[in-house]
Every structure is written in C-alpha cells, then in structure tokens.
Amino acid sequence: MSNSQGGNALLRTSTPGDGSAVGDGAVTAPSPARRPRRRGDWRKRAEIALLAGPAIVVFIAFVIFPVVMAAYYGFFKWKGYGVPTDFVGLENYLTILQDSTFIDALSHNGFIVVMSLVMQGPAAVILALLLNRKMRGRGLIRVLIFVPYVVSEVIVGTGWSLMLQTTGAINDLFGKIGLEGWAVDWLSDPDVAIWSLMIIITWKYIGFAVILFLAGLQSIPEELHEAAAIDGASYWQTQRSITLPLLGPTLRIWAFLSIIGSLQLFDLVYIIWGQYVSATAGTSTMATYMVLNGRNAGNYGFGNAVAVVLFIISLVIALTYQRFVLRRDTQGAITEGKK
C-alpha cells in the first residue's frame, strides 16, 4: 500500500501506441520513460479526483449536508416554508427532553437494543454452528433462513399485523391446539405489544446475523479444528475454545450494527402501529416520535431537533463501543482513519 506510487514510478510508463490496450486512451500519456516526478504527481491527483470524486460529491451532498442542515434547523421554530427565521436556541431540545412521550420512546429504544442482542445473539451463534456442518440440504436451509431479511418491512408489518390480530391466525392456531389461554391481544395490550415487536424483529433480522456469523466461521482456518481433534477435544470443547474466540470480531461488529439499527428503528413500528397507537401500545421509538411530532405535525424545526438528539445518542454509543469493545479489533476505524 505504501509504495503503490513512486516506488514503481519508473515502471509505470506507457509505451507509445498502446493507448488502445489501456481501455481509456484519453488518460494515458505516451511520455518518455523518465517523466518528471511532478507530472506523475499531477496525474495521480487527476486519477484520484476522477475515480473518487463522484462518490465523494454524491455522499457529501446527500448524506453529510442533510445531517449538518438537521443540526442547523433544530435551533428554529419552523414550518418548513421559506427560510427559517424564528431562532429559538435550545428551546426545541428542552421541549424534547421534558416530554414524557419522548422519554417513553427512548426507553422503548433502550429495551429494543438490549433485547435484540439477547434474543438474537446466542441463537444466531448456535444456528451458525449448526449450519456450518456438512448436512443434506444445507444450502437450501441457508437460503430459507435468510428469507425474512429480504422481505420488506412493509410486507413483514402487513403480514404480521394480520396474523397477530385478536381474530388472526396466531390466536386461532393456539385455540386449535388447546392453548386458548395463550391467545392475547398481541398488538394493543401495552404489556404484550413490545414483546410482539421483539418477536417480529428477531424473526426478521436473525437471518442476517446467521449469515454474518457463517461468513466469520468460514474464515477460521480448518487446521485449528483438526489440531483440536487430534488433541482429543470434543466437538463442543472445540467450539468453545476455538470457534467462539475467533468469531469474536464478527460478533462485536454484528452487535454494533444491531445496536445502531435498534436505535434507529422506524419502519416496522410505523407500519404496524400506525401513527396513533404506538404510544398507547408502548411501542413508540425515537424515530416514530420524530416523524409524528415533526413532519406529520408540520413542525420541521422540532423534528430536526429530535433527529439531532437521536443522532447524538447513536454517536455517543457508537464511539463508546468503538473505544471499549472494538478497540482490540481495529485501531478505531471511525475515529482515527484506517491503519
């Protein structure tokens, strides 16, 4: 990586007349072998700009810029028309932090973060170990387990809503097998609804975790398992003392993605509990709070302030996680650039 240029500058000369063989004749300079260094530098810069420029422009325009604007709009009381002029300082933020419905939403997010890790992590590891063996139909099983991840949130929400209605398929099924007592009001009982949400989240996202762990397992050298077998380790001993530690980095990355995803959860809740009942059912999240009290209520300044709060919470958690958990795996990809 370090001498991709300069070290072989002498080698990188194009022989005149091979422009056609290069795929991009316009950029090849049929210059003599000892091209002055500065010229090479200039060319390298042009190549970097040409190749990376478009991605950077699109990324800054549609990701970075809106995030910055969200921070700016958050200081205004603003209905979204014209230029925001009604500067209110931190008022939006005070409103948010004193609003019990926001605090509720925040606590729901916290619950979802923790329960996602608890419900998906161990199960996904066991499933990945299970599916990492030679067995008949393994490929098919893998595809089928991943199916829920590919189905869109809207479809998941629509389908599960129908199944979980009090008169829906799930309760009906319980009735058929003599478990009428299990038939509850899955979607509107405040004690049950968040668990219904957790079941749906687990169902939808565990496939991703399994696939990620399988990828991690495949990068563990076979020799280690063979060595352990020679040393007389049982299957489970091998998994515990070789596989799991080596799967560590993958696990930690998955947990990171899961936490960030849980904090940002919007689609499923908005689709299943619609715009009104998520608060009473106890399934509101910061993102649904943001959309309901921001855009849907026409208070764009306020909505952006909620987005900023959500972002700061995510960022603090992400950086803390980076600092204390991922530290061993990386030298802080996000904070310090790559090694």
Binding site: V58, L130, V147, T158, W203, E222, I253, I260, F266
Partner: protein
Amino acid sequence: MAATAVQATPAQPLAPAPKRRRGKTLDKVNPLVYVVAWLLVGVCVGPVIYIILGGLRTNSQITQDPSGFPTTWEWGNYSSVLNSSLFWQQAGNSAISAIVTTIGVVVLGVMASYVLARYDFKANAAMYSLFAAGLMFPMTVAITPLYLMIKNLGLMNSLAGIILPQIAFALPTTIIILVPFLRAIPKELEEAASIDGASRLGFFFRMVVPLSIPGVVTVGILAFVAAWNSYMLPLFILNDESMYTLPLGVQSFASQYSVDTARVLAFTSLSMIPALIFFSLFERRIVGGLTGAVKG
C-alpha cells in the same frame, strides 16, 4: 461493519466463487440437528407461506378459519392484482429505483474503493473515515433536511428523488466491503501490468474491475434489496400513487382494501417475489462476499 474492513485481508478474494469451508466434518450428523434446522426454517418461512397461501383463499375462509389451509384454490385474487395496471406501474417504479441505485452504487463504489485501497496520498485515511462515519448517519437522522433538499431541487415525486439519496446512503457499506477486496489484489500483479505497459487506470479497467466481481456482486445485492425494500424515503418523497414503489403500494392497497384481506395478501406476496428470486439466485455470493469483509 464500520470496523470490518480496517485490516481485513480476505483469504481468497480472487476466487470467482469462494471455496466453502466446511465445519468439523462429522461422519453422520445427529438427526436432532436436522429437526432443529428444519423447525427453524419452518418458523422463518411460515409467515411468508401464510401470506402467499392467504392470497389463494376467500375472505370468508380467512374470517372463519384464520390459520387454515386453502380449501379451494382461489386464483382470482392473484389474477385481479396481476391485471391491475397500478401494480405493474409500481413494480416498474421499484425495479427502476433498485436497478439504477445498484448500478450507481457499484460504479461509484468501485472507483472510490480503488482509490482508497491502492493509492497512497495524504487525505486517504481522512476520506476513508468520512465514508466509515457515514455508517452512523442512517437515513432517519437526515430524512427531514433530505426531503426539503429534494423539494428544492424540484425532484419531489420523482424516482430520481429517491435514487440519489439511496446511492449516497449505500456508499459506506459498499466501500467498507470493497476496500479489503481491492487491497488484496497482489502488488506483483500491478507491477506486472505496468511492465506490460498498462497505466494505473488501464490496470484498473483491465484487472481490478474483473477481479472485484465477487465483492461487487455482494454489495450489488445488498444495495438492490435495500432499495427494493426502501420505505422511509419514498414515504417522504413520493406522493402520487402512480409514482409509488411497491412498499408504499402495499401499504396504500392494504388501507384501501382493508376489508378484502385475501386480495391484500395476494398483492403483498406478489410484491415480495422479485426480491426473493433475486436473492436466492445470488445467496452464495453474499456469504462469499461477506467472508471478505469479515476478518477471521
């Protein structure tokens, strides 16, 4: 995934189809393993089957026996959806959005990843960090300003208005998966190419692009599925039924015909089939591609 790419060097990124490592080979797998595995499959696929089969029943069947199997096969629900021009219009919108997003992400992503992986320059680390940080800016945070921006650009209610942000938001994941792939292309290869008279750009087009195909397929699938299923952005940007993508279409159909459960289920299952087919064709690649990004 922020951290994955940092020092990962995939074991064999150049193999067109990564060799699948086996776990500990057991002479015979415990039958219990099969039972557990297929039970799990049942749980995963059950709701999807429910949706598909529900479309084959009549509403009275669904009301009387919600968890039953179709007693008579009612193809009417499916054919009425397939005969509606609105469904095809929305499926077309979804397809355009997903395909253009995928192409955009792959082209921009490969170019940027190549620079990050193989060019040595001062701002390299900063550029990488910029994209890596993008993983922490999910669309949720930027959605309101994004909506206002699209409005000011005059792209409201157009597919371009959802495609551009989708490309931008898919770039971080793409770059983080692709950089280790491209970095693993042996230096000797580049030197050999330059001895043979290829410039660095020539090397890029003639060697890097073909060699990065496995990684590209992975990020392409992820981008395609994400765009196909995208909900929040179209919800904000598209406001006309004929411009809707399928997720919005499903939602509005479900609220319009809420009494006609069977037809809602038919519409719903028809709109998930393309993504399922697309995914099952390339499932192997996803596992292979992630193996490159996740270091062991």
